[in-house]
Symmetry: C2
Subunit: 463 residues, 2 copies
Amino acid sequence: MSIRLLILLCLITTQATSQIPTDSAAFFIKDIYRQTLAEEKAYSWLTTLTKGIGPRLSGSEKSIKAIHWAKATMDTLGFDRVWLQPVMVPHWERGEKEQVLMITPGAGVTELKALALGNSPGTGSQGVRAEVIEVQSLDELRSLPDEQIEGKIVFFNRPMDLGLTSTFSAYGGAADQRTSGPVAAAERGAVAVVIRSLSTRQDDYPHTGMTQLSDKIQNIPSVAVSTNDAVVLSNTLKKGKVELYIRTSCQMMEDALSYNVIGEIKGTTHPEEIILIGGHFDSWDVGEGAHDDGSGCMHSMEVLYRLRKMGYTPNRTLRCVLFMNEENGLRGGKAYADSSFANNEYHLAAIESDAGGFTPQSFGISPGAETSLDSAMSHMSGFMELLEPYDIELKAGGGGADIGPLKPKAGVLMGLRPDSSRYFDFHHSGLDTLENVHPRELAAGAAALTSLVFLLDQYGIGE
Amino acid sequence: MSIRLLILLCLITTQATSQIPTDSAAFFIKDIYRQTLAEEKAYSWLTTLTKGIGPRLSGSEKSIKAIHWAKATMDTLGFDRVWLQPVMVPHWERGEKEQVLMITPGAGVTELKALALGNSPGTGSQGVRAEVIEVQSLDELRSLPDEQIEGKIVFFNRPMDLGLTSTFSAYGGAADQRTSGPVAAAERGAVAVVIRSLSTRQDDYPHTGMTQLSDKIQNIPSVAVSTNDAVVLSNTLKKGKVELYIRTSCQMMEDALSYNVIGEIKGTTHPEEIILIGGHFDSWDVGEGAHDDGSGCMHSMEVLYRLRKMGYTPNRTLRCVLFMNEENGLRGGKAYADSSFANNEYHLAAIESDAGGFTPQSFGISPGAETSLDSAMSHMSGFMELLEPYDIELKAGGGGADIGPLKPKAGVLMGLRPDSSRYFDFHHSGLDTLENVHPRELAAGAAALTSLVFLLDQYGIGE
């Protein structure tokens, strides 16, 4: 037993609470792992969600079907309360399959594999045809004279930097092309934007994702091409002028009624302190939203399911939240926080799983408004040593998009950090399917999260 | 900076050696990761090995082809010396595809997917046909009266326990059926053995692997059936008598000449202290030996390649060893140790990578003959903190089969421990192919090993 653990144990035993000694906690966690790995419950639910329903873009019919399935499933799990929380969400539709043609004088026409970016306007039925100009960054775009951009299609082609240890850092270093490239190009007079897919693989699968719109300009159509086709386009441009023809029929519809799905087990000794575990239930409309974020949602359901099945009576109130509309609006996260603030709720801890169903490596922690990171890290490092045998560490920084709005009235915000090696192979593409989720890796995440929620319920977050 | 790291730094700076300060070491390790992740060299070699050559069973033609490819490749990498170390190895051949038929009175004949166990004798061209008796363990077999076993085919059907956190533990808890089941059954008069494949998945792929022979009895034919077919067979047995017909044409040939492949970079200040990094180059004859252990071999080659490419001049002698015949004899490991002892060599550290090309989690360490685990752990924990940002820990226990014979004259034995979630999905089966290795996960292992070898070369293993 480490010194930190010994100190924690001494502290705990001097308090009159319903806390259990850490050696018993170690046995309980071992049992959580044993049962979670053996049953693979999250995978079984994810199979139904992905193969029985499919992708769940905000406002879509399938997203509503999934919401009702999740509520009906939670209703069978013996929670104290399960409810739908209404929220109006953006409703963007892709429409017909995109057509992106590369037209090279003398060399004919080549079709590129492409997906319109989420939120992007369509081209209209005639499509857009223009000469292409390649840039590596928004800065490079800004440095160019207007006449080189006006009337052109801007091609953002900076790859993710695979030399970085975390693929999330590599994604973060390239994603501005997708999120801000179309508006930046439109402001300079471009007629459309093509981006190199944000992917860790060199392959034929385009990756979609949200692009920001501006209400000050005419937004322009934008698409992502596969990494292989980005190389083809770039190599062709090296030889001379290239035109692209782009036709998309995507459009933004009226906002639609949707829901967060919430399940709750009421706490006994401190019911007013909420421990939230959640993921986002919406996904992009390609693939099946298996890793992003079916996995995090099934993780969250399993945490409450597992603790209830093991006969555990929590001190605090445990809440599982499947947030709607993380991908293109965050309306679910905002609506949940608004409602929570209106009801004067306090979240002792809000935890999000939105980084895929891969083998967990650590939990990231960020302080809420009235907590110090140092004290929370120090307190939690003690009991988190119980997760050391499972190769789970505690690291500073992290949380999740959906739980972010809770920060002003939360103790700590935390995020599960799984191995990120494969995440961006699949993310936002047709490859984000059940076949690319491993049942045992998914189960390891559920076990880690269940153990964390158990530990937080037992030992809190310190002063 | 931690206190341990600070103390280590003080110790280091008071010694007159060619050691570099730990802050410089941290930068060097960052560069190792950056270059290794960006270049994916191990994956590029593994592609040639698996797709250009294929599986490499000891004594096979392909194993010799692979040996010459590895030597020729190392010859281009600027090592100080590359050589082949001759070793006589067992030469077992599978022969024609196995036939295993389940014959049920009234229900006809069903073919089961099966692979003969390595080393197993064949059935002869007539095959073996007998009634099946199912047991869950060697103990259960021992408890049965002779008349229930004599003339029967014994079916060992205990699954791996997926509730265990490490799949290696689950494998270890079930593997006695494969390694010792056939001899135990033969001693009781059985005519053949069938085992449930040692696999973490419920699927149609049989998994082979070594079974032990005895020179005191007539060894009997033994095969593994896929986990799906094990369930089919067991369910059919629940309904009444079942016969199996087994035909295999495998046979043990004369021992064959083979080689360990060794590459070396000579140390400058302590050339007499060897740091070995190795894997085993032989594989089973199904699949491509991609994870087991093409990955470990390519890891090992990359460690020396990377350090040389980065212009690093080692203090100690670095040696990369591709051992032959780990799977069914360990002759390469023994021959290497014999030769090393004869030459009065001292291995400061011997490290093996033989647990797949998955994301690394930790290094296991075991003491050699004259080292204390506590002192080595304590010394190394200091500088291993430099690997904490990469989620790599140091854990007690571990090494590798091939380096085991070096123990009497080694400082420490160490083993890379990657995420084990998927390893036994593929291990010893037709699924152990390049497609199931992820380039980035493989690269992360190479980076971790290169960093470890660098740290050991800089800071040694303590008193």
